[in-house]
Amino acid sequence: MSMISVRDLRKTFPIKRHRSGMKGSIASLFRPEYEGEFAAVKGISFEVARGEIVGYIGPNGAGKSTTIKMLTGILVPTSGDATVAGLVPWEKRKQLAQKIGVVFGQRTQLWWDLALIESLELLKHLYRVPEARFQENLATATELLGLGDFLQTPVRQLSLGQRMRGDLAASLLHDPEILYLDEPTIGLDIVAKAAIRDFLQTLNRERQTTVLLTTHDLDDIEQLCARIMVIDHGEVMFDGELNALKSRWGGRRQLIVDFASDPDADIGSISNGALEVTQIDGPRVTIAFDRDAISAPDVLGRAGAFGEVRDMSLQEPEIEDVIRRMYEGSVPIRT
């Protein structure tokens, strides 16, 4: 059963014309003029099954937040359908609220002047979590996220990493079926990032919690998400496995060959459609090649004709490069 199901979801915003001067401002207030519309999300479709962790990525302004807002029910789409945990979000927002957890990395749902535990207990009442369940969830979160040191500390005195861990715990007290995370590791140090990733993996494994994660942190994606969706200009550019994304887009692996001495100068002539000599640095030669067109031993064999090979190493494409190339290319691809 799909936990999230989205079909042809579309959202357009009218663009208001800004009129100048005092008179213009007043006129705009009473009778705004519009000059066309802006499509933030242009008819996207996808399914997310229970227990999946999906990385939802794209540049700023791509339509990520707009999609998440529609899936939580605080934004009504211009057209299209969606169900989340069996509910149409914008028709049953408050009912859905009981089934989802939301963390926005830049905002907090904790009370600034109160100890962390006070905010958590408040949320217990808000979501009507039974006491036993609350204690159990609190104990798990305390253990995995290391909250014990600062449960009694006022939130305003917490470091960003501590606050973020507190927020994550807060979003999970009511056992949500779906967790929306908007840049949960932004601005955190490596230790805090690792704690949060471990926690999410444990949660997903033990409770089958479905996670939709937006992030600019590509390590988050590499470590957490088996599946990623890339969105840009309001369209889904890619939806599939991380490896598929790499081979399809980054595509090129790099073979770095160290010769015993400088190779023949015309080594560059082996470049063809499948491989390319991208750098010659004394005895070290870098060759980029397409994994579908030619195998690594073949590349090595061809390079070997130009000198005695002493060492070599193979580099997989970096996901940063992959994503950058996608944004630059901006051609939608579906799998």
Binding site: F13, P14, T66, K69, T72, G73, I74, L75, V76, W90, R93, K94, Q95, A97, Q98, I100, V102, F104, Q106, R107, T108, Q109, W111, D113, L114, E118, E121, L122, H125, L126, Y127, R128, P154
Partner: protein, 263 residues
């Protein structure tokens, strides 16, 4: 209902986080209390002891002054932009994603806040006033009770007003214009600036059909015995219900605005 009680309780606790601010505020209220009382006493100088202006004797005017100072923080007569701020920084989205009633969420928080301010600001201010000046006290226990009951209603009417001009932030990014207008109106119409009975008759007629006087003038009149208990509290209950209704209507449109056009 439990969750709204818990909200109020935490909001109550929250108010005790800033002791220095409380003491500074108490000092300010007392200075203004002394200042205004002295001005009014000067106006009554040379007059016979039972002379009154607009139904207020000198002692009653001084009492009015101190009640006004005492209720500044519990009731709030001006600037309060907590909800507007959450609209601006986007936190309002988090609040809308909770299984709760948005109005009751803020209302219970405000009642908790007001209750704390009665303890930290209203009672100390009145105590200081009663030490420095001869205040008039309610003449019966019924009057005492009526005054005490009238304060939560004063907070309610004030809260509804603040709630509504805060929701304005959903339409207008800049709230300062409408805020300063409301602040001036509140100061004049609630009777915080001057007792309402000192205004010209046409202004009194206008003020008497507006909700603002429930925020201060009615509690003062209940204390001083200038209005019957039934009429005073009746007006406050009436205005509280009307204002809460207005809040929900506005909230309905505000939510629709958000969900259709985005925050």
């Amino acid at each position: 209902m439990r969750m709204y009680y818990e909200l109020a309780k935490r909001s109550f606790q929250q108010q005790f986080a800033y002791r220095a601010a409380t003491l500074a505020g108490l000092f300010t209220n007392s200075v203004f209390g002394v200042l205004l009382s002295s001005v009014y006493l000067a106006l009554f100088w040379d007059q016979p002891a039972n002379a009154s202006v607009g139904g207020f004797t000198a002692a009653q005017t001084v009492t009015y002054t101190w009640i006004g100072q005492a209720l500044i923080m519990p009731v709030i007569f001006w600037g309060w932009f907590l909800i507007t701020n959450t609209i601006r920084d986007g936190t309002v989205v988090m609040d809308m994603l909770k299984p709760m009633d948005f109005f009751l969420y803020w209302y219970s928080r405000d009642l908790g806040r007001g209750a704390a301010q009665i303890i930290t600001r209203a009672i100390p201010t009145l105590t200081i006033g009663s030490i420095l000046f001869d205040l008039v006290w309610p003449e019966s226990w019924q009057r005492w009770a009526a005054f005490l009951i009238s304060v939560p209603f004063a907070i309610t009417v004030s809260f509804c007003l603040r709630f509504m001009f805060n929701l304005w932030g959903f339409w207008m990014l800049d709230h300062r214009g409408i805020s300063s207008l409301i602040i001036v109106m509140t100061g004049v119409f609630s009777g915080h600036l001057l007792p309402v009975s000192w205004y010209p008759p046409w202004a009194q007629n206008l003020i008497n059909v507006l909700p603002f006087r429930s925020m201060l003038m009615t509690p003062v009149e209940l204390w001083l015995g200038q209005v019957s208990i039934a009429q005073g509290l009746g007006m406050q209950v009436f205005w509280s219900l009307v204002m809460i209704g207005c809040c929900y209507v506005l909230l309905h449109y505000a939510e629709r605005k958000v969900v259709v056009q985005g925050g």
